[in-house]
Symmetry: C2
Subunit: 201 residues, 2 copies
């Protein structure tokens, strides 16, 4: 069973997160924090599984998640990682209430703060600042994703690996190579080869 209760403790981080956009007024802070649900998630536990409808927008307070799809042959393909102070959810499934094609799984023991779709809508309808802040948040995510797609289709595996190292230096040591390979779109064996060649030079 999942331990879930209204968050009462560590809300500083998420408030600071919003302060980097348009900072929230006291009333908005209260509206937000009173709707957040805190959950502790164990390693290998799922926030979302293929076929389920994604029910919440998730802020990662601590820990690390991967979001991935599984192809016909059963191979996993990582679309994104999310560590502390990032958001993760299958927005398509959440908004359109359709079964997801994706899994979201904890790579490390984690703590998250979640908003249900209803809570999100409440915030959007009553406090326009959330429209603004989430517009900017998703714009930033769109930019990242587009960059990633461009890399994926136009760069070699070696280049993609080097970009990954530049963009996420912390993750290189934190994640198992096998997860990075899945994100880069290569097999772990080939990533191993790439690393080796890189090292030789």
């Amino acid at each position: 069973m999942i331990i879930a209760h209204k968050a009462t403790i560590i809300l500083e981080n998420i408030i600071n997160h919003f302060n980097r956009y348009l900072p929230l007024e006291e009333e908005e802070k209260l509206a937000l924090t009173s709707r957040l649900t805190e959950r502790k998630i164990k390693r290998r536990q799922f926030l979302l599984q293929e076929g389920d409808v994604c029910k919440s927008f998730t802020y990662v307070q601590s820990g690390c998640f991967k979001m991935y799809g599984v192809d016909d042959k059963g191979v996993e393909h990582n679309l994104a990682f999310a560590v502390e102070d990032d958001w993760i959810s299958d927005i398509g499934s959440l908004h359109k209430e359709q079964p997801s094609k994706l899994f979201i799984e904890a790579i490390e023991p984690s703590v998250v703060l979640q908003l249900s779709k209803g809570d999100l809508w409440y915030l959007y309808s009553n406090y326009p600042k959330f429209d603004r802040n989430f517009r900017v948040i998703i714009e930033d995510k769109y930019i990242e994703l587009q960059d990633r797609l461009l890399q994926t289709v136009s760069a070699t595996a070696l280049n993609r690996y080097e970009s990954f190292i530049n963009q996420y230096p912390q993750l290189v040591n934190r994640l198992p190579s096998t997860q990075i390979a899945s994100y880069l779109g290569v097999t772990p064996e080939f990533l191993s080869k790439i690393k080796n060649e890189r090292f030789k030079k």
Copy 2:
């Protein structure tokens, strides 16, 4: 030279576009339409070239555009197409005022309506409904892009082609194969082979 003047003619389409989200009040309509610039774009003319900072958010009134990057070997990779009633721009470059890595080029003679960054900011600050509407617009684009990335990394070229046909049946006949190949991430030669095999079955 580019012909550019304040739009006075066909604004129905873009107003209807917003009506599909949260419909605009008269005042908001006026605020929007008075800031739109209409431009007629010839085939092969660029809205954006690599190295330039993207200056506007563009609504396609009629015609068709491609947005693409060029790799080290000079090969083009199409990230997106935009036809009538769609938006196109390099959001990263526009927002962060950084040189773009992309080109946006007309595939057909086209008419667009453009908003400058300043106009967009004006609308966002004075009419919160634009925050809402553009939040939803970009969410939809994010969903599309994520789906595309998943396909790109987890499906075979044949599957990607079949998905393309299902998702954009109008475009299959409207665009040259060579552009579709670039979007799918294969060479025109290989796409030709795929089509051939598909037809045989």
